[in-house]
Amino acid sequence: GTNEAGESSSTGEGLPDTIKIMSIKEMTGPVSFAGENSTKGIDLAVEQINEQGFLGDTKLEIDLKDASDSTQEAASLATQAVSDKSYSAILGPGLSSQASAISPIAEKGEIPVIYYQAGSDGVLVGDYTYRVTAPAASYYHIIGDYLAEKKVKTAAVLYTSGNPTLTELGEKAVPGVIEENGVTIKRSDTVSNDTQDFTAVTSEIIKADPDAVFLLLLGPQNPRAVSQLKQKGYDGEIIGMTTMGAGNLETAGEDAAGVVWPSNFSARSEVPSTQEFVKAYEEKYGELPNNYAAEGYDAVWLLARGIKEANSADRVAIREGIAKVAAEGFDGAQGPLSFENNDVRVEGVIASWNGSEEVVVTLGDD
């Protein structure tokens, strides 16, 4: 890089002293746990990049902005990033609604954005937007072997219909996976975003007596649905999705022991690049990382690789750099990452709750 600060941000070649990135976050409000954890992952990645000299003398600088859960705030911050030329890229928010508002702004303002979470369809439009959280549908098929091993013949599906990701899973992906494995679906039920009590619907499910129940619910709904199923005397398999992670099952305690879910990330995964990340994370924070942290970490690394590739702080150049990196893929916290239309793909692991912590299920030695 050059030591010439200031003018360099828009010139084609070479890197300035610092590259500023706006990180739009949900640090307060109902989804603050996601913001909190991804920030830790981001900070770790930035620290590594700056200490390793990954970008030479150039330092990455993250400007953290809290948009809470407001779409308008998020859009406004993105506009500020577009008009303030000192920002080279945006690390996007985790809520789909915010992301879909930001994407057109980014496209028009020509600034690269890397999202984590934000699983809905309308998020990735055009060339400037990338996502490092793989849609659950893309790796959900790994549950097939588990179903076979547990000799699951019948299943019931319960999903939250107010959420785009969960609806997509509940209506298409999961039934597809289930049927491919020769399992019949006995019931499919829906609840809404603000459903609190699952008594009625779990009773109905138990009446149908399936071997496995698929729960595709919002975070706080999971422990409730699991407990209520168990209390009604259900003793079959319970299979969820990533919303089961991140400590959400803790309150269900013993009731939730044995719940499994295909995940894009598990701290217990044996993949070397994951273990490397987990080790560094544990060292820095003294706790195990969750998927939000891993995604934040990967987002920064994707960006850093793109910048290095571009060897420029220019937005358009960075975008092209990211595109090149994405075409090749790399090993990140979530394991080997590849990209499909700007959207990440991972291998996935089956995670499980053993009653007190999250573990990885390895099939065959059960």
């Binding site: 409000g29 809905s120 219909s161 809404s192």
Partner: protein, 314 residues
């Protein structure tokens, strides 16, 4: 300045959109109709405009116009259905209306894009267009805040029965309020959908109702200016408070509490009474004195009286 404008364009636009949304609650409130149907119309308008833009690629003003007309008609029909309802019962019915619209949007299949909502509603709507609409709306509403129209609106709100006996068509006024509220709400929703290019069912929820009500009550519920003040405050407050970090939501809540306590007539009312105090003209008028000639007569009598009753007064 230009830089600031560009960087904050979203908030500037949002101020005007929130202004229209607040008005859609305020207009019925001014005639004593406690209706949140305007928030539902916001949803109707947003979806109508987005669908027209995405599917038929119509110009922005056509999409918005169609949304406004559609929601106004729905508002009118709605007013016919809820004609017998009043007060908080009416409020509940309109909340139900809003939530039903949200559920319909979630379950609307391809038409509404389901839980995903719609995206890619790219149009030629500009900030200038939004401001122009708001200026026209504010001007028209300002006309209802003076002279005979203001008196009638006051009458319908405070005492519908009295209004009837004074020849005011209370039912018509109420229906009109619903219609206008529908149009304003839809206008806000449509313009928001086109500016943000997306709309999702999550947007139309109880929180939007609460926001609209808070803007009106804290800004001032009697005048368009109150709605505007409310819109400015509640659009900009969150980003101003972002500097307070972790506790921003707590501070936000405290500000609302203080406003509720100390501004019974909204910020607008507070400003007005301060202004009047400054000008030394309080709301109170001179004490009632009997008419002039009689006063003289009475004074004479009183003098007579006081003379006679000196001993009587201890």
């Amino acid at each position: 300045m230009i830089g600031w404008y560009e960087a904050n364009i979203v908030l500037i636009e949002a101020t005007f959109l929130n202004f229209l949304l607040a008005l859609s609650i305020q207009v019925p409130l001014r005639v004593g109709v406690f209706s949140f149907a305007g928030v539902g119309s916001y949803g109707l308008g947003a979806y109508t405009a987005a669908i027209l833009t995405i599917r038929y690629d119509v110009p922005a003003f056509v999409a918005i116009g169609a949304a406004v007309v559609f929601a106004a008609v729905v508002g009118y029909l709605f007013s016919l259905i809820v004609a017998r309802l009043n007060g908080l019962y009416l409020a509940m019915a309109t909340i139900a209306f809003v939530l039903i619209i949200s559920v319909l949007a979630t379950n609307g299949g391809e038409l509404t894009g389901g839980a995903n909502g719609l995206y890619g509603a790219l149009s030629d709507l500009t900030t200038g267009g939004v401001v122009a609409v708001c200026v026209v709306v504010a001007f028209l509403l300002a006309l209802t805040e003076r002279g005979p129209l203001r008196r009638r609106i006051e009458a319908v709100r405070e005492d519908p029965e009295l209004s009837m006996s004074m020849g005011i068509g209370v039912v018509t006024v109420r229906q009109l309020a619903f219609t206008v509220s529908g149009a304003l709400g839809a206008c806000a929703g449509a313009m928001n959908a086109l500016l943000r290019t997306t709309v999702s069912p999550e947007e139309i929820n109880f929180h939007l109702i609460v926001l609209a009500l808070t803007m009106v009550i804290i800004g001032g519920s009697r005048s368009w200016m109150g709605a505007f003040i409310g819109a400015v405050i509640f659009t900009w407050l969150p980003s101003m408070l972002a500097t307070t970090g972790r506790w921003q939501d707590v501070v936000y809540g405290l500000i609302i509490i203080l406003a509720a306590i100390f501004m019974p007539t909204g910020l607008l009312g507070l400003v007005q009474s301060l202004y009047q105090k400054l000008r030394g003209r309080s709301r109170t008028a001179a004490p009632a004195e009997p008419p002039a000639e009689e006063a003289v007569e009475e004074r004479a009598m009183l003098q007579a009286l006081s003379g006679e009753s000196k001993e009587g007064v201890r």
